[in-house]
Symmetry: D2
Subunit: 319 residues, 4 copies
């Protein structure tokens, strides 16, 4: 993880300077404010700023749904109620801003969530650092044989070694050539006066997709949870999921009641289709139901059996 010395100085001085505010505070989040949380080999996540907390959600809900007493148990109940019934606007009333360093191919997945504000480091204006994501061997997986978008077994031996060599070698070669084409020294002076150097906005096209970029990413609590529901999920690609998992910790510090409701009604919840619900009713009534009589596809049947924690039939579990 590479924060520059200047950035580290800024973090130290920002953390040294408390100010008085009349705004609501989230003490457990203040504890880690500005501090980089390492992710992957060179990436990180930092909370830069925030607005509101669980009380902001409750306050907004009470504007809409009327007033009441303010005990913590009631706040908790109200937040559980809002989450259960998909009342989303009160969760839009709190906001958070992250500074994230991440590989470009992860950034391309991430940015598909359009309901956030983003300022990304621009390689049109500035020069990217020489930092690439090289997976840990434990995450160097083969293509899944049963799922078009998943990973299968971990590569081993010569193939693993060769893959790591390729990833490292190609990224370094591409970066060295990027650097040569730019023709700039680290202090922005010209490296070789006999050459003009290629414009930054062009030279960047030579970089590989595992090069690290960074951005400020600001979103509200509702949209953060939407992001986490999709990206802290086991179907998400490991390289983005690991960021989402760190953000779950941030959510717990920031809005502990909302975090609890999120685990109960989103992250740990399941959606049963109309047909799956009918199957569940029959199972509870003690009726026999098989994949064939269920009305579900083979795949949905297996998914439902998984969700219900039931032993699979002879074919075993393939997916």
């Amino acid at each position: 993880m590479a924060l520059s010395d200047q950035q580290l100085d800024e973090i130290r001085s920002a953390r040294a300077n408390g100010t008085a505010t009349l705004r609501p505070c989230a003490p457990a989040l203040e504890e880690i404010l500005f501090e980089p949380i390492p992710v992957l080999d060179h990436g990180f996540l930092r909370v830069i700023d925030y607005m509101g907390d669980d009380a902001a959600v409750v306050q907004a809900a009470r504007v809409s749904y009327g007033r009441g007493t303010r005990k913590v148990t009631e706040d908790r109940g109200l937040i559980m109620y809002l989450m259960r019934h998909w009342h989303t606007t009160p969760f839009e009333m709190a906001e958070i801003k992250f500074h994230v360093k991440l590989p470009i191919f992860v950034a391309r997945q991430w940015i598909r969530h359009r309901t956030a504000s983003i300022n990304e480091y621009s390689a049109r204006y500035s020069i990217l650092d020489k930092e690439f994501y090289i997976p840990d061997e434990a995450h160097l997986a083969a293509q899944s044989t049963v799922n078009r978008q998943g990973r299968g077994e971990i590569l081993t031996g010569d193939e693993a070694a060769r893959v790591l060599d390729i990833l490292r070698g190609d990224a370094e070669k591409a970066y060295a050539d990027y650097n040569w084409m730019l023709n700039e020294n680290p202090d922005s002076t010209v490296a070789d006066p006999s050459r003009s150097g290629l414009a930054r906005e062009l030279a960047r096209m030579n970089l590989t997709l595992n090069t690290y970029t960074q951005w400020y990413w600001k979103t509200n609590l509702h949209n953060l949870m939407h992001f986490l529901r999709l990206r802290a999920d086991s179907h998400a690609q490991y390289e983005i999921r690991i960021y989402a998992e760190k953000m779950l910790d941030v959510l717990r510090r920031w809005t502990p009641l909302t975090y609890e409701a999120f685990l109960e009604y989103r992250h740990g919840a399941v959606n049963l289709s109309r047909t799956a619900l009918a199957v569940v009713k029959k199972l509870i009534a003690g009726e026999q139901v098989s994949a064939e009589t269920s009305g579900l596809s083979q795949r949905e049947w297996r998914e439902l059996m998984d969700v219900l924690g039931r032993a699979q039939d002879g074919e075993g579990r393939r997916e």
Copy 2:
């Protein structure tokens, strides 16, 4: 303006309780945090929370466009540059939340700005207070004779008096009947046990559009300025413009550099069409240009002459 005693207590206690935070603060905004700013006869505007300040804009821009020194003069120059060149994302990095009390017909204009989060007092769940907007006589205007959406001269004498009587009388009658249909006492007990009372979600349809509602309205600095550009404009209806004008003061306290840039490049700026630009070039070159030779419509010609502060021809200014 009617804040309940409970709300006033809350404001007093919120303003009494400073906490330490590591987050950036806007001191001039903290001075008025939570305090109601009166608008119209019963409305108000309060800043409830905020995130970031001018420095947040600068910081985000520097992530995108590279680093530099941090003197105030440079921050000012950067903010002016960003505003001039329509770089919008850095201005999305600061956020503000208002509590607004406003007449329903104003709320219906306001909500057309979709890029905000809103929690409105719900008349499905709760009972609206007996408060209506009755215009001050100075704002009781006739329809414009030259503009389909504007106001003309101020009503006077009997007609003005009659209009005010109607507005007050119809609103009071409608509210009294709303109240009767609800069949609830102020303490939520049943008023007349011989009647069932009409559901709140139905009874509310009897209210007039000048009844006051209230909401939390949260948006970012960029979208706030977009709102202000349209609603603090002389073409906006007075009843929403007066809210926008109070928000301009808030903007000045919150982000003074951005405020200055907003006045320079948005609020006080003009957009010259391709044809109007050609006219301006000719005028600078000392050529004669008339409405007929300008290539502009009569209306655009008058608007351009207005913008340039030039005397009108014999017909005078009609709009």
Copy 3:
């Protein structure tokens, strides 16, 4: 329902003039294009235009997830898969535009869905027609005694009659006074030359919230289904739900496969919380679970028993 003669002429002529297009068509939707579908006493819903159909969803998904064969059975399977796994972007690739006439208090609920484009009839520029929503007696309900936002029993006898009289009387009085204040004849000439007339943007504030307005409402297939999930739900207020139910018919005509998937995975599906899932597993295993041992609140327990269609305990069903 009041379309003007001019509007009816336009519908007739629009329906008479087919043109050839290379774009995908939805034949069952073309059958009802432009035709008003009556809703409530004076409202309607018309499909004005659309873009794409089920094939547009499939085509977009295949850009993302790769190519394959094109049989209908496979299209159906792909759409079911996309819906089940919350792949939303392919459903954004089809678009629809409605013309809706609706009471203002319904419009205020509706507009909270921000992901649509809206052009509403403006009472700043034009004069609203004399049309109000007066509920049918069968929908004149009391406030629910168990639910703060619901309806209870139907009003009867004198109270019902009196409520209808009030709603009709207050709306008519408010409209007549609106009309008097405007001081305009139907042909836009001045009614009483001795008076100036009040500006339209002011006079409108005297109208009651059951006055009808109209708008064009354009959204994509994904956002339409989000709207329908919330508004075609039994918890939605009747006066908006009835619009949503008519739109379900439109959805069936427009994108029959998506409609089928929507019923299966959204409209007829249930979300089980982490704790509710644990209860379901125990019930399937034949274990005894009661409200007390379930870990659920009383309210959630009742909701779960409802969903599972199980008989309630002695207290009966209260909500």
Copy 4:
């Protein structure tokens, strides 16, 4: 430009099959529907579908602002009026969908416009083709010496040749290694049975940013013009501007009146700041104004002189 034979077949058959529709059509756009418009060395742009035309804008505006006659001259005047006064919602009533093939680094700029629906070819599911953008020599520019984000002079001779060799060589090497790591034949069979092959979602990180991707991109007329205002501008990077310029042609075919208004009030218009407006007034009045007395920064002064087409002082025009 590489459309597969299958895609070309599909285009031919789609263009052969007209259907009757009652919807409004844009004949000049139908002429090029589905046809690829070449952009850069391997990219293209195709209109896949659309909804509405100039009449849709007019129709929506008339819902809002009242009825009138329907002559073409009046439609033109209304569209000019809407554009001049920033009435945006009527332009949201028409929609268009493109299929675009573009280099990844261009896609990363493009996607920052969040108000569109996108389905991108997924390299998690599928294998990217071996196609990279290699700039034409005429566009191989040095970094600007006066502008941190612009281009300067064109590279020549050995340096140009070497840069092209690098771009081509690194992209080919990275792609060959991507291919080796995947260990798949073109028909999806395993290439070397002794190896597992790396998961697609990982292998893609080895590709360079000039690799081509493709997506469906759907937006409304208003947001399309916002995109074009920024990206068909001389400050935009050539590689995205060339796409925007082709889209301007599409706009002209689709909505000719809106296109005309766009050129007049956006593309060919200028924004004068408050201070610049004061300068213009003085110049028209025949007063002497210099950079020093103008109140403008040196840079803004030069920009204003450029806009007004006035000769620069001795230093010449540097930017």
